[in-house]
Symmetry: C2
């Protein structure tokens, strides 16, 4: 059953690094799913599940400070740790706080918010993590657009957990006719997810970011972020902030 | 058995696109393996197996024409086809010609020679393909350097066959202590190769480049390029040309 390339096919592609985004971004009419499993996009999904009002993702600490000065809750992480002068970082647990319900948060992280910055020109940008996997797939299914699964990676490098999530999306659509443009990147991610899906935690045991978080005593965050479908919220970017 | 990151470890990383090379290239003292399975690096390995004297890889058609005018055999491919005005393209079969023994060839291709161009600053650049897999691994084992497996991809995009070859190298070193710096990119490639190694051809059945070559009636080239270890030649770049 051979599929040929055709301009009318909907494509599902995985972009393994924000630095490659310009290669994959060929037209404004597409959906970009930003993925930073450990931990920015998991934290954002959690924030909305727990009732936060809005999340403003910004690339720099300076922008985050400016928003914080205007009364926003300030959240910033670099290299896995909370940046001095900010209330919270990107641990999902920080967002399960009743005091944050309805509040606006500004967030800057090492990789995740940088990826959103790179994708800003796209028509639709949403936030994906294992926590909202099925909700993301259902959202994608009803859009009549090509999809770029944008892995935040680690400082431009490929990473395993974001690629695995991309594979989970490719696996969801495997055998369906929603996406008929077969991309090598999604074939590869799908195979990896299919090998890992019985035990994501075990599969990631040697991943670089997991080891980095372990050194920071963030095992609890890892376990939390690898849960599937604990929320049906799909945060959507409106040009300035993320909302549900 | 946890491995921590450490400056004395030798790293084996996969760079899935030439556009990401600047992210992975952190010091001159490294070995870059340039990989373009369909078909540039398979053709180069074949050329040396059949006794060619030297291959000069160049990025542009203009440079190739200039070398051709100086008496070099001209080889150029774009989008899978021989460029007008050149004797040969990048089909490995073109290089099994007794008339080419000892001759110098200039070669420009869509992806492979562009990848060599990107890697030019590195101390050591070699050419890898399934055809010389074990020879490449044995070469890497005795260098005391970090290794970047540079997939030529397709116009900056991830591709399956180059990633599979990178996975074959990672698989070769799996369980050995040659490379102790575990990179996410090589873990992912290794898993994919381990799933595919019984039947590479079957695994690649839906890969984009395979479909592209099938449309050009190049099935014979595909089968040829997926053979493992038919040569022990390892072409090394000397700053201008490739030699063995």
């Amino acid at each position: 059953m051979e599929t040929t390339e055709n301009k009318n096919q909907r494509k599902l592609e995985v972009c393994y690094s924000p630095d490659l985004f310009p290669v994959y971004y060929t037209k404004k009419e597409c959906v970009v799913v930003v993925i930073d499993v450990f931990r920015a996009t998991s934290a954002i999904c959690t924030a909305f599940e727990y009732g936060i009002g809005q999340v403003i993702p910004v690339a720099t600490i300076e922008e985050a400070l400016a928003y914080q000065a205007k009364g926003y809750i300030g959240a910033a992480e670099r290299h896995g740790e909370i940046v001095e002068g900010f209330d919270i970082g990107n641990s999902p647990f920080s967002y399960m706080n009743p005091e944050l319900v309805g509040k606006k948060v500004v967030l800057s992280t090492t990789n995740g918010t940088q990826a959103i910055e790179k994708a800003k020109q796209a028509e639709t940008i949403i936030i994906g993590s294992f926590l909202n996997l099925t909700a993301v797939c259902e959202f994608l299914a009803v859009q009549n657009k090509d999809v770029i699964l944008l892995c935040a990676g680690w400082k431009g490098r490929y990473n395993l957990e974001d690629s695995l999530f991309a594979g989970a999306v490719a696996d969801y659509f495997d055998g369906s006719d929603v996406f008929t443009g077969i991309a090598d990147s999604s074939i590869a991610a799908k195979h990896m997810y299919q090998a890992a899906k019985g035990n994501l935690n075990e599969f990631l045991i040697n991943s670089s970011h997991r080891r980095r978080l372990q050194r920071l005593n963030l095992e609890k965050d890892i376990d939390y972020c690898l849960q599937i479908d604990i929320t049906d919220k799909v945060p959507v970017f409106d040009g300035t902030g993320l909302n549900v």
